[in-house]
Symmetry: C2
Subunit: 208 residues, 2 copies
């Protein structure tokens, strides 16, 4: 009973499927075949079917998938049956933009608190959130059992913040600081760095 582990590559594609399914639903469709979905995603029908089959048979032969049903199944798989409170650490341009971001709505996610350490920033209002001091962060994370943190502090303090967060019980980190964070393997880290994404594409650019 331990070879039922679903590969992380598969997991990483589920939110992507979900996003496009919701879009198709908005367009008023009721069902999709794996091949239609593949077309919208720039993926392949076989891969989608194989990915989904890790979790059960959600489709019907000859008919495809009921969109609303598949959306619900994916949301359950991804633990989106509740709203996960998140904290943002760093109330700079990016941290504030993320605090105001509307895109987390209906995605099982919600920014609950925003922290910084600059005296002139702490106490100011960002959207509906008042910036709290980092000194209170450990306690807030613990007592509210918060599991997810978004780091938008400068590169040189990101690791320190990450250590503090992990110690306080954070299990998932979305890191916007341009450094590779080192954490214990039970903690998930996703690194978003525009520079890295752009440089990766630079390689393929024609000279002019």
């Amino acid at each position: 009973m331990d070879e039922n582990i679903v590969p992380d590559v598969v997991i990483s594609r589920l939110p992507w499927y979900l996003q496009t399914l919701k879009q198709i639903a908005d367009e008023g469709m009721q069902t999709v075949s794996s091949s239609l979905l593949a077309e919208k995603l720039g993926s392949t029908a076989t891969q989608i079917r194989r990915d989904l089959s890790n979790f059960g048979g959600f489709g019907k032969q000859g008919r495809g998938y009921t969109i609303d049903n598949l959306i619900e199944e994916l949301e359950n798989i991804l633990n989106m049956d509740r709203i996960w409170p998140m904290i943002i650490v760093g109330a700079g341009d990016l941290g504030r933009a993320l605090a105001r971001y509307q895109g987390f709505q209906n995605q099982g996610l919600k920014v609950a608190m925003l922290f910084d350490n600059a005296p002139d920033v702490v106490g100011t209002l960002v959207g509906k959130l008042r910036v709290k001091h980092v000194d209170s962060m450990r306690e807030e994370v613990k007592s509210n059992r918060i599991k997810i943190a978004i780091i938008t502090v400068p590169a040189n303090s990101a690791q320190e913040i990450a250590d503090l967060l992990v110690e306080a019980g954070i299990q998932a980190i979305l890191n916007y600081a341009p450094v590779t964070l080192v954490v214990q393997s039970s903690v998930r880290v996703q690194h978003i760095d525009p520079t890295l994404h752009l440089q990766r594409m630079l390689y393929y650019l024609d000279e002019y």
Copy 2:
């Protein structure tokens, strides 16, 4: 003469290596072994050596790699020997944050222009850039031979903007809109979507 194609997985790791090498250089070190670098990256020595060997032998047996030299080699491979001008489309919270972002400095990248279509935004100043109207975008991209665009417009207009950009000659798109863009295969797209990254981690979270 066509089986010298380096896999994209390898290319995607080079900016990551570069980032950490620069960091190590800042700490005053002169050389690194693949195993030390691997440790800093949470990668493996073998993978680093194999990745680099796609481009030549940059190290010396028994000694490792000269950091400055390896940085230079990677920068050349990634076409970072010049500064690539980029445009940002969408001057919302995120677009403005990116326009002011200092992290593109010394990375071969520079935000050259910022576009929007809202009358009350066009003409305003963001950092040192004045927001231009989207109507002039096609012409600006063409005449300045700009190859890279960052899209931060709402989901429902992202595909339309992408089509326009590709037609104007853009070859690389960093997409922050929460939709999968469909473009011809000669154009590179990287999708940055905090929701997708977060949901991917949700799967692994403990219940409480």
